[in-house]
Symmetry: C2
Subunit: 271 residues, 2 copies
């Protein structure tokens, strides 16, 4: 999917919500455990109930890999279900991969070709030649970790290299990489006050913003400091939506939570 | 496996060789493509021919994920084959994972429990709370990326924070994390001259060293600057061994290449 197609969808739905599909078998409603594939059954119900309220879904690969081959099968079924039934929806493999050149190409093939996601999250630690192989794929985005929403972000990301924080060095440096127009960035909502600075470095890029809600970030603040003329934001919520209820009404409960966020987004977009 | 068990195996075999199982279907001998599972058939032949010469195997997960569910099945068969037939051999999932707290726990479960590897490689960018969940697992090691062997290492890893390079900050900081005695570190052989400095920070830790051979690093230099009283080194070679021949004799050719390295190691260990 192109950036323009994503922006069109955001304007159509008045939503820049991304729903994180982080499926933990210990947290999903008990009645689903009787299903052949409880993970996919859960995802399908969530997708069916919420697809009109969001523009993106983001399965975190850790939650699938933890269940081995069955988990990988559930991930494959989920992306196939999305691509077949909702091709207008943007898909993100939250995989945080990154390796040396030809190995990164193999990861890119895994997520862009075998699984046909629109984008994948990638860690920047190994630098240019670990990221550029992802950027070589047409109509695919690479979402680079810049400033994450966890406490550990202060261990290295916010430390200064030559008077500039590591995450800003990552933003600056990545702009010089080949096909850098296909980059998006992860910026945690818990640090919304950093967004004004970030926008001076990457005014046009889309930001994937986790940490609204459960982790304490404010949607209003993120939009105030982070929005650009193309919206430029995908706000992710995982647990706050998908685990809104652990009963048989879980999908409707998820839709209600998603709608709360979508309405808040609509107010911001139409004011 | 404990560090002591690994050291015992190194002394017994006079080898600290790790063989990287990075299986690319475009590079393996053509006759194997007729097999039900060409990836596992290749790995099994390599393992059968080389297990007396090395102390560790390291599949890079990218090469398996690129083939989807079949790839993941081949990875599972490979680790099961190793654990059943060669429990004395140390196994490394070269996955370069890293995510927020509970999500890192899911990755740890994937590699330590579902697949039963002895260790996994992890990226440090997200800091303490992204790595500690891996360190909570008993008799498992977490191998943290410090200084990698690719050109992109110079983008961020060798830049200075408060007068000290990022990779040294990673080494220093990680020592304060809970269960840090279970850490090992990736240090590329192409930068052997950095090893003396690295040993002043982490004198006792094992280092996983890629980049000997194909990428230009010298085994002699790595040992000169990096070896400690417990050996403290695992030298990885992937392509140089497993693709030594693309004919039916590929496994024997791999064994010959592995033996060259093992003999060189024996000379160093027994001099």
């Amino acid at each position: 999917m192109t950036t323009n197609q994503l922006v069109t969808e955001i304007r159509k739905k008045n939503s820049f919500l991304c729903i994180g599909l982080d499926v933990d078998l210990n947290k999903i409603p008990k009645h689903l455990l009787k299903e052949d594939d409880p993970i996919f059954a859960f995802n399908k119900a969530i997708i069916d109930a919420t697809n009109h309220l969001c523009v993106a879904y983001k399965p975190n690969t850790a939650f699938y890999e933890a269940y081995g081959i069955k988990g990988w099968q559930a991930l494959e079924k989920t992306i196939n279900y999305l691509n077949e039934n909702h091709p207008e929806i943007y898909t993100i493999a939250d995989a945080k991969r990154g390796d040396i050149g030809n190995t990164s190409t193999m990861y890119a093939k895994a997520f862009f070709e075998d699984l046909a996601f629109d984008s994948v999250t990638v860690a920047p630690y190994m630098g240019k030649d670990s990221v550029e192989p992802f950027l070589a794929f047409k109509n695919k985005h690479t979402i680079l970790l810049a400033l994450t929403s966890n406490q550990g972000a202060f261990d290295f990301q916010t430390k200064e290299i030559e008077g500039k924080e590591v995450y800003k060095q990552v933003l600056e440096t990545s702009k010089s990489w080949k096909n850098s127009e296909k980059l998006m960035y992860v910026v945690g909502a818990t640090k919304a006050e950093y967004l004004a600075d970030i926008r001076t470095i990457i005014p046009d890029s889309f930001l994937l913003v986790p940490g609204v809600g459960a982790q304490g970030g404010s949607l209003q603040d993120v939009c105030k400091f982070g929005m650009n003329s193309q919206i430029g934001l995908l706000i992710n919520s995982s647990r706050g939506i998908i685990y809104a209820s652990s009963n048989e009404d879980f999908a409707q409960a998820a839709a209600s939570k998603a709608e709360e966020l979508q309405k808040e987004m609509q107010t911001i977009l139409t004011k």
